[in-house]
């Protein structure tokens, strides 16, 4: 994928996390892009406010992989908005990623705790 190549390794980690969080939010029900962006900012207390626009390439990539699907619907204020919902394939993916995340963060926490206690 051209983009994946252009993104640096660090950016890829951010993108991966962004995708996982978006999937998590979508597993509660369909949302449009702005709604997702807002929810992410609120829940993460603006940690993920770096660049609202980068959500859209991430969504497009997940669409392409078949993790989510999109459809146009009326929004809460009766405007046409593009709503994303998670697919079965996306749920499987999310399960794997959460598991992976838990393993990684647990490992990271262990290392940090060890380093701190050792200091």
């Amino acid at each position: 994928m051209p983009t994946d190549r252009r993104l640096g390794a660090r950016a890829e980690v951010v993108r991966g996390t962004l995708e996982m969080l978006a999937l998590t939010l979508l597993s509660d029900g369909p949302m449009h892009g702005w709604g997702l962006s807002l929810k992410l900012r609120e829940l993460s207390r603006d940690v993920f406010d770096v660049n609202q626009g980068s959500l859209y390439p991430a969504l497009q990539a997940m669409l392409r992989r078949g993790w989510i699907r999109a459809e146009w619907r009326a929004s809460e204020n009766n405007r046409r908005a593009r709503y994303y919902s998670i697919t079965a394939h996306g749920r499987d993916q999310l399960g794997m990623e959460i598991e992976e995340w838990n393993r990684t963060s647990a490992a990271v926490n262990r290392v940090i705790r060890y380093a701190l206690s050792g200091a």
């Binding site: 392409r64 992989r65 046409r80």
Partner: protein, 896 residues
């Protein structure tokens, strides 16, 4: 990863690009608007809120690009834009594009059509189960390379050849399906086990039982699928019903699957309509019961088919047969005639005769394809010349070698795609034409069609051509040095030479391959001419033939059969435009003839050998109708009826073999066994008629009238061919002749309507087919080479424009200048010719089995090829050479 999502998304992206862009814009606008609204709600001014929303979003256009990239069609987009670029640049040179496309279409089309034929005829398995386990079983002895089995041999091989798991016999013939529109059907009488040996059970109903396959068994029949559809409307209830076959009520017990054919059907190019039990036992077949053999000879009249035992090979079967035959010869069966028995794998049996023809044609078409590719590569190379500056600019602007390569390959690919599409259309037409004009004697050709495998083949060929034609221009383009190209003003003398050499090499290859094809065509033309000059012993022009049978139901005795033919012959002869009419048992070159044992006064056959003679039964007038030459004595005539003394006419081979040093006229010959009292007197000798094949030795043959043969040996021919000699187009009289036969007896069915010309043509069908295809391919190859030479000479003249101008200024005459052009053309042709002759001398050997009366390295043919190719080279060089002659020294020197 679910790759199909990716692929589907890519295509969706490619197709719905505009819509997706609009949606993306709407989505992002929605986001910005909602964000701005939120900002307003938190107390900002409208304009601040909007500015803030945009800033938080990040670069809108950059994110849009990222989204586009994520659609996953990036590479497809690139390819698509390459294709569009290629199409645009091809459209700029419509002439070249057209020429290249047509050339490729020709190459791809011809190759695909021939592949379709080869695949169908040689590669599609026969409609039998494990056809590689099925073999045809034959006997052979002196004068008979491959002939039928006797009933004793069937019994013997069945019991004593362990390599056979089973063996069965069949014979072919004809029956009449009675009814309102009586129809003559091709019938096969077969052993009940035949279908299980072939591994082809009926699709409906059942095969015959052993109980049905015995003398005096019930009248039962199995229909072909085609007959079932044609005559019974595919009604399944026909099974168990009784139909009238040649006057007998016959119960239908089964229907064969569609497309099923007996091995013989492929050879004859005709389909069996109906299957009947053989219904013989040793006694009725006149053989020794059980696996025993008689001393002496036997009557051979059955086709044999066997299935090999598990793990047995055809070679093993042949070895076992050899041992058995040696033993039998000791015992005295078919002794001293070099008798042997052998098997032929069934697919070789069916397609063995056409395999060399088809392989030759396929090889030829591949050569044409290579020539077409060389031609297109040459064209693209020329195009590369005119594009060097354009490409140099691209390189200077940073296009890498791989980018350039992609552009050029895409161009070839677009050409190949265009050519391939047209080629498939061409192949479809060609295959249709081939089917309509299928030379008789080429089995399975009428079933050929352009199916998916042919399409796949065309696709692969097109892809290969794209690579082949794109490679050379590519090699050149990647050697571009932009600085040099641009400074030079695009006229590089040295590199121009190098490129010319490449083109010269291409054209030399074209000419060489053309020479191979033309040489092949020349050899086949000589072969066909030689075959046509063989005197078959009869005159075929203006002779119409058709088969008519007189079933015993309506013609219970020979008197009535003879009366019927008298009547038909009299009425047909009276038709305007008809010179002669007669009836004959078997048409020459149409059906092989068997022999009859004779006892010839004054001739003692070698021990354990009889005096066989092929028996031809005719009505008076046959000799005139087919234009046979009487050497001595007289022809058979109306006086030779059943009350007159028995008279026969013999051929020269008969006279030479049985009357060596004696006078044949007046000789006495007894036909049939010793119990026959009737003896024929030879009243005439005719020139040999090539009955079984156009080439090969003619066997002793005798002619007797239908009326007298019914007296001795008492055999009435129920199926005869009517032959009508007209004084013009034989086919023109078809309706009248048919109407006349119908007027004599409306119940009788007429079949196998052919002209004698058709029959003779079919006899040399394979060679003629090879000749025609090689001829067409040779002409195409010459044309393509001519175009190549034309291009070379044009380029030589153009690249030496200055030099020629100087020469003109220094006093060279137009003739001198033209000679320079012509010389370059001939030089070009010569190198190709030399290479071609060498290649042809090596390659024409593959034609060996097809040639007749000419060797594969026939000097006359090769001289002719050199002359023809040289002439083509000169003609192709003349026009561009003329341009050299017309050079105006002023104009030539003023350029720059």
């Amino acid at each position: 990863m679910a790759w199909y999502h990716e692929v589907a998304a890519s295509f969706a992206a490619l197709i719905g690009r505009r819509r997706q862009d609009a949606e993306m814009k709407e989505e992002i606008n929605f986001h910005l608007e909602m964000e701005a609204r939120r900002n307003v709600a938190s107390g900002m001014s409208t304009s601040d809120a909007q500015r803030r929303a945009r800033r938080d979003f990040g670069g809108v256009e950059r994110h849009k690009d990222d989204v586009r990239d994520e659609r996953g069609a990036g590479r497809l987009f690139d390819a698509w834009s390459d294709v569009r670029f290629a199409i645009r640049s091809l459209r700029q040179r419509p002439g070249l594009t057209m020429a290249a496309t047509l050339t490729l279409a020709l190459g791809i089309g011809a190759t695909s059509a021939v592949f379709g034929v080869v695949k169908h005829v040689l590669l599609t398995p026969l409609p039998y189960e494990n056809p590689d386990r099925v073999v045809a079983v034959w006997s052979a002895w002196k004068g008979f390379d491959q002939t039928w089995l006797s009933y004793d041999e069937w019994e013997g091989w069945k019991a004593r050849v362990p390599a056979f798991s089973d063996i069965a016999l069949y014979t072919d013939g004809a029956v009449t399906l009675d009814g309102d529109a009586p129809e003559r059907l091709r019938a096969v009488n077969l052993h009940a086990t035949m279908f299980s040996i072939l591994g082809a059970p009926p699709e409906r109903g059942r095969a015959f039982t052993a109980e049905e396959d015995r003398p005096g068994g019930p009248n039962v029949a199995i229909l072909s699928h085609e007959l079932w559809e044609r005559r019974f409307g595919a009604d399944p209830s026909v099974i168990g019903r009784r139909i009238q076959i040649s006057g007998s009520a016959t119960t239908v017990v089964g229907i064969m699957p569609a497309g099923f054919q007996m091995p013989l059907d492929y050879t004859l190019g005709e389909r069996t309509d109906i299957y009947l039990p053989l219904g013989l036992d040793a006694q009725t077949a006149g053989s020794v019961p059980g696996p025993a053999f008689p001393k002496g000879g036997a009557s051979h009249g059955f086709y044999g088919v066997a299935r090999l035992a598990p793990n047995a090979t055809p070679a093993a079967a042949n070895a076992q047969l050899r041992t058995l035959v040696a033993e039998l010869e000791q015992f005295g069966y078919m002794a001293n005639v070099n008798f042997h028995a052998f098997v032929v794998p069934i697919d070789e049996q069916i397609t063995g005769r056409v395999r060399p023809v088809l392989l030759v044609v396929f090889g030829a078409v591949v050569l044409v394809l290579i020539i077409a590719c060389a031609n297109v590569a040459g064209l693209l190379l020329v195009r590369g010349e005119t594009r060097r500056r354009e490409l140099a600019v691209r390189v200077a602007l940073g296009a890498g070698a791989s980018r350039l390569a992609r552009l050029l390959i895409t161009e070839s690919a677009v050409l190949a795609a265009l050519g391939g599409t047209m080629g498939i259309a061409l192949a479809t037409i060609t295959v249709r034409l081939l089917r309509a004009n299928a030379p008789a004697g080429l089995p399975r050709l009428t079933e050929v069609s352009v199916d998916w495998s042919v399409l796949m083949f065309a696709l692969v060929v097109a892809a290969l051509t794209a690579l082949a034609t794109g490679m050379l221009p590519l090699v050149h383009a990647t050697h571009l040095a932009p600085a040099g190209e641009l400074r030079e003003g695009g006229r590089g003398a040295t590199s121009g030479r190098a490129r010319l050499r490449w083109r010269q090499l291409l054209v030399a290859v074209e000419i060489a391959l053309a020479v191979v094809l033309v040489a092949g065509a020349g050899l086949m033309i000589r072969t066909v001419r030689n075959l046509l000059t063989i005197d078959p012993g009869f005159r075929s022009d203006g002779v119409l033939t058709m088969r008519v049978s007189t079933p015993s139901l309506w013609y219970p005795d020979s008197t009535r059969v003879v009366a019927f033919w008298d009547d038909v012959q009299r009425r047909v002869s009276a038709l305007p435009g008809v010179k002669h009419a007669a009836a004959v048992r078997l048409l020459p070159l149409a059906t092989e003839m068997g022999d009859w044992g004779l006892v010839i006064q004054g001739y003692t056959p070698p021990p354990n050998r009889g005096a066989p003679g092929d028996w031809q039964i005719v009505t008076p007038g046959y000799f005139e109708t087919l234009g046979l030459t009487i050497r001595e004595g007289r022809a058979l005539n109306a006086g030779d009826d059943m009350h007159a003394p028995l008279a026969m006419v013999v051929n020269r081979a008969f006279e030479e073999q049985y009357f060596a040093g004696r006078r044949a006229l007046g000789g006495r010959v007894r036909v049939g066994g010793s119990d026959t009292l009737h003896v024929y007197t030879i009243v005439g000798v005719v020139d040999d008629v090539h009955h079984n094949a156009l080439v090969g030795t003619v066997k002793p043959q005798f002619y007797a009238t239908l009326a007298q043969f019914a007296v001795a040996p008492g055999s009435t021919r129920r199926s005869m061919s009517l032959v009508v000699k007209t004084d013009g187009d034989a086919k023109a009289l078809l309706m009248e002749v048919r109407a006349t036969v119908r007027a004599v007896d409306p119940r009788l069915a007429v079949s196998e309507v052919r002209t004698m010309r058709d029959i003779v043509d079919a006899a040399i069908g394979g060679q003629r087919f090879a000749m025609e295809t090689l001829g067409v391919f040779g002409v195409v190859a010459l044309l393509l080479s001519a175009i190549g030479i034309f291009g070379i000479v044009s380029q030589v003249v153009a690249s030496r424009f200055h030099e020629l101008g100087i020469r003109a200024a220094l006093g060279a005459t137009p003739n001198d200048l033209m000679a320079i052009g012509l010389r370059s053309g001939l030089q070009q042709a010569t190198s190709g010719l030399v290479a071609g002759i060498v290649a042809a001398l090596l390659l024409t050997r593959v034609l060996h089995s097809l040639l007749h009366g000419v060797t594969a390295t026939d000097p006359l043919t090769f001289v002719a090829v050199v002359v023809v190719t040289g002439l083509v080279a000169i003609v192709a060089s003349v026009a561009p050479a003329r341009r050299a002659a017309r050079i105006d020294p002023n104009a030539a020197l003023r350029v720059d």
